[in-house]
Symmetry: C2
Subunit: 349 residues, 2 copies
DNA sequence: AATTTTTACCCAAACGTTTGCGTAAACATT
DNA sequence: AATGTTTACGCAAACGTTTGGGTAAAAATT
């Protein structure tokens, strides 16, 4: 079905049909004609061809009004299965849909060298993009040349020109460490990423402000996955037993770490406290349940959509960095440390 | 940048540029000219306009060769965060990419009434679609009218005209139940969906073939989420204590159920065995680790892509239903039932 | 009744691309 | 030298749409 065909069915010219479709209710056509056209459109299930429309509109309106009513969501492939991102995208989609926008996903920006992907990105026409996951500089410049409206959503503080929807992960980390300290812990390990990681800085600052001992061995640089958390904790616990608490940069890591701890015969929370960040669903299904910092992931998605759409519709950009509140969720994985060192140096073993 | 501009920069006509782009290396242009054109294209970062190209190609080649090099992936919203689908899509994407295809995601078909979504679906030009999640009849007819090449990937046996990539969930269920029976269990509950669910039928048939007692109370119709699994198990265990094993229709459900069991003071696997289906990552991070039926989720995605792309490229359809092998993964959540009834009727309490 | 205004519609050009057809030049064959 | 063949390229039409610029007929104003 084409505009032309609709036109001939209705016995009018294509232009009339076009005007009716794009300016319904205007005086462009008589009542009768307009009704007839809509009826035919309904009967035939006609939907205007996007390619043709775009082609024309882009030139006529110079990208001003070429409404796609779609926003893009750029996501690192590695993160696809991270519950954090599922939650954020859920909020994003919900809010977008409520405003008549659809979301187009563009995955795996680490494959940017792949020309197929480049082309696909180039071709998915969206009016703005939500950026999830930490972009490297190459990615940032690519984005800037390709999109005008970009909003970053996530926990990383990317000091960039993009608007950001975040939680204060720095403060969240300090909160987590402080909480462990309050419980009486002094030997607190860090499991997570180090480079450019604001959570790592939060950990460091908390440790120094609380005047706790800092030890390189207790800082482990890993990717944020359960697998890595498991391996890191296993290694850590086999080499040293003076650690009484693990601060993990996210829940996935924490869950992996808990498994390793239990396997090495370490009771949680009696002998080892573990805390994570995010509050993903799985936290509630581990034994014990994982104490964590709740990040309002879905709200982050919602805010991202709201602001993006606002920028799209008003055309105005008020640069901003939105910080959503986090909060500590006390569950079962943290407690006071054992009164004496877990394993008196030589006594056991 | 447009073809025309490239052409004038190169001092040739648009047609020459077009031919060079679409038939590189052919004798359409002289060596010099061709090189020059490519160089200019590289310098300017020109990418052909998708709209214009589609518009033209669709007519010229009559949907025969209108290459998008893209496949669609339609996904039920409710399942977006289900690890099962993350895994399948990961495989799908990997394989697609290896063949130069990109994947476009089209979410939430239960919102089909939403005209925005309908339009979005209509407009995402793909050469075939992978369908994940169980489609209702409305969805099926919508798909059939909109797409020629559709492959369903998942555990449900949708007796339909689509090609299917599945695991034999019926047999998988029987395997799970048989395994529990082998361990000595006789009172085995089912937690999962009932209507049209092949896993439910597998459970039923296994029970009857093994001549185990069937009891309505032990069959609980729930959605496949951890939340529902938790609630169902909590309710079940509070009302009856003769159940010694839980067959859960997927791991999420099983994980929820395990939590409820532990909270009600039921030790796993000593007093209660739990088995799931899927083998999602989380299975390895529960206590005890969850025994389950491994479904090759990533392979399912890979096969889906392979077959879809084959159909796209050859234009031929060999109707097929591919069954991938599953296997039982013995972990810690299943054991022989307690020799006597868990809780002798009145004795305890 | 003659005029202006409004209504209701059509024509044609343009968006960026692809391709059938045409053709001028270069080369090869007599 | 004249013909045929190949090479290298341009012309123009078409894809489905939108819109400025019409215009003929109807309605309103004199």
């Amino acid at each position: 079905m084409t505009l032309k065909e609709i036109a001939s069915l209705a016995g009018v010219s294509p232009s009339t049909v076009s005007r009716v479709i794009n300016h319904p209710g205007s005086k462009a056509a008589s009542r009768e004609v307009e009704n007839k056209i809509w009826q035919i459109i309904r009967e035939t299930g006609y939907i205007p061809d996007a390619s043709a429309r775009n082609l024309k509109l882009r030139s006529v309106l110079a990208q001003n009004q070429a409404r796609q009513k779609a926003i893009g969501c750029i996501l690192a492939r590695t993160h696809t299965s991270d519950p954090f991102f599922s939650k954020v995208t859920r909020g994003l989609e919900r809010e977008a849909l409520r405003n008549g926008y659809t979301v187009k996903y563009i995955f795996s920006y680490e494959d940017l060298r792949n020309p197929d992907i480049q082309e696909a990105i180039q071709q998915t026409k969206v009016e703005g993009v939500a950026l999830l996951g930490r972009p490297d500089s190459k990615m940032r410049s690519f984005l800037k040349t390709n999109y005008k409206k970009i909003i970053y959503a996530g926990l990383n503080n990317i000091d960039s020109e993009f608007d950001q929807i975040t939680c204060n992960a720095y403060l969240a980390s300090k909160t987590a460490v402080s909480y462990l300290a309050e419980l009486g812990h002094t030997h607190i390990a860090y499991l997570g990423e180090r480079k450019n990681e604001i959570r790592y800085r939060g950990y460091l600052d908390a440790i120094s402000q609380l005047a706790l001992p800092l030890n390189r061995e207790r800082i482990i640089d890993i990717h944020l996955s359960a697998e890595d958390g498991y391996r890191a904790a296993a290694k850590l616990l086999s080499s040293t037993r003076d650690v009484t608490a693990l601060f993990c940069a996210n829940d996935l890591t924490a869950i992996g770490a808990m498994k390793a701890a239990k396997e090495s015969g370490c009771r949680i929370p009696e002998e080892l406290s573990v805390i994570g960040i995010d509050d993903i669903e799985t936290c509630q299904y581990t034994t014990p349940m994982l104490t964590t910092i709740h990040i309002p992931m879905e709200d982050m998605g919602i805010m991202t959509a709201k602001i993006l759409i606002d920028r799209i519709e008003t055309g105005k950009r008020i640069p901003m960095k939105v910080e959503l509140p986090f909060r500590l969720i006390r569950r079962g994985s943290c407690a006071a440390p054992p009164s004496k060192p877990n394993h008196p140096p030589q006594a056991m073993e």
